[in-house]
Amino acid sequence: MNDPWLPYSRGRHAEPVQGAPALLAESLFVTYPGAHGLALRGVSVRVPCGTCAALIGPNGSGKSTLLKAVAGLVSVASGVVRVHGNPVGACHHRLAYLPQRGEIDWAFPISVERLVLTGRYVHLGWLSWPGSRDREIASAALDHLGLSSLADRQIGMLSGGQQQKALLARALAQEADLLLLDEPFNAVDARTQDSIYQAMRSLRDGGKTLVVATHDLSRLDGAFDAVVRLRDGQVETKPLNGVAGKERAWTT
């Protein structure tokens, strides 16, 4: 029997492959359209389920590109990407991409609750509206991230940290297993970073897998299970003080 179609796409629903890592990339090459050279040059990364991995490296090293390739936002020139053992696009309801803050129109007239509810759309598709179950899931997600009291606010009225948590709540409402966070700590102060880390950790403890692109190197030890360093579109193998052991464990 065929699997049901996925809403909004021409793909079919695919079950996660037992024992497969949450994210697997093998010899990944990505060119940017119109740009010279390669954004990623043979990147291989393996992130097991239920872990929290940091993706670090200077600007332009390919962190965002790697996340976008996994999310299906840029096309892959060659190499393999698997999410829970399935190709990109076959399971995008399991994958939540949290864009950099600047890529969202925070002035848009929408409440925090409704933004979180958009996480349900991937399960709904065309001509179908969120029902009471979707609202319950969204409100539980808001509750989990401590945003319930802000549910009625317009999204631009939140602080930077609260906005990041609203995006995490949406990923939770989506019931995604793999969360890709692009620079979640940009332009938030140290105390807010703490609260975002806490939120991330509680999601990981709940069985989610997180891949976080960041250039904040101060917390690599405590906050992440694994660190992958990129430079010029390649995985950096030269050890970095303190986190070298973790690096070896997680890159192939």
Binding site: E103, I110, L115, V122
Partner: protein, 290 residues
């Protein structure tokens, strides 16, 4: 009171008021999306580019609405297509296309030596709306409002967070095409009431006014629709009583409402400085001790 209700005993005034309200409400609700997506300039351009379509239809004796619609849809497709290329910036492309099309329309019109018809196209002739026109206007209103209702959640998401939408397989450019098509439809009906030059006012001003008063999409749409209705009735009545151009009167009512809302909002913020200022600093209260 008789003085104000008297005009509406005439059949042509009843048609006019119905047309103005239908067009006004359609444009206002659609305009909420247009304003939020900063597509105001495109709305203006689409209205202007209908002129050659209208003139050609007029010359050959075809339906004016159909001529305008074809020109507007063609422009909507062109703009949508051009904005996916990088060679020319979108606003530049729009500027080139819309002035060129408008000039072509005026040129064609000057060949017919009928400036009276040209004036009707440029500034509208809501008092000349026929029952047939009303059916067309009603049909467009139904199509536009139905599409906006059916695709509300997709239109909302692709405007607010296009990247997330792409990741779940929802194409932002597809929704933009849909919106451009709807704007093209609405603009053609706007031309009958306020004319080519002022149609974008119906699309933008009531929606912009509503945006000053609310920060939710559905509430903005409701407010915009109410404003458009009130301004259409008030404008038509005023133009009848003072014997002035009806399209301009409707648009000026919208402009006055915008200025009133702007003043009210400024006064409100002065009275309650904390009311609607976005939080720029992170609130310490949200941080639990690590």
């Amino acid at each position: 009171m008789d003085y104000l209700t008297a005009p509406f005993r005439y059949g042509f005034m009843q048609n006019a008021i119905l047309a103005a309200v239908l067009v006004g409400v359609t444009c206002a609700v659609l305009g909420v999306h247009v304003v939020q997506r900063r597509m105001a300039f495109i709305g203006e351009a689409l209205a202007h580019t209908t002129l050659p379509g209208l003139v050609i239809a007029h010359l050959f004796g075809w339906s004016l609405s159909l001529g305008g619609l074809c020109a507007a849809l063609a422009t909507a497709l062109l703009i949508g297509w051009a904005s996916r290329r990088d060679a020319v910036k979108e606003d530049t492309a729009i500027g080139v296309v819309f002035t060129g099309m408008f000039a072509l329309g005026v040129l064609l019109m000057s060949r017919t030596r009928s400036y009276r018809d040209l004036t009707h196209m440029l500034f509208g002739n809501v008092l000349g709306v026929t029952t047939e026109d009303l059916w067309f206007i009603g049909g467009v209103a139904a199509v536009v409002l139905t599409c906006l209702a059916l695709f509300h959640k997709e239109l909302e998401l692709t405007a607010c967070d296009p990247i997330y939408a792409e990741v779940i397989g929802l194409r932002a450019d597809l929704m933009r095409f849909l919106l451009l098509g709807l704007v093209a439809l609405a603009v053609v009906t706007g031309i009958q009431t306020v004319g080519v030059v002022l149609t974008s006012a119906l699309l933008i001003t009531p929606a912009a006014t509503a945006a000053l008063l609310s920060d939710r999409m559905p509430r903005r749409m409701l407010l915009g629709a109410l404003l458009a209705t009130a301004c259409s009735v008030a404008g038509l009545t005023a133009s009848y009583v003072t014997e002035t151009s009806s399209g301009s009167a409707i648009v000026l009512c919208c402009t006055a409402a915008f200025m009133a809302a702007y003043a009210a909002r400024s006064a409100w913020h002065r009275l309650r400085p904390t009311a609607a200022i976005p939080v720029t600093k992170d609130e310490p209260s949200e941080v639990a001790p690590a």
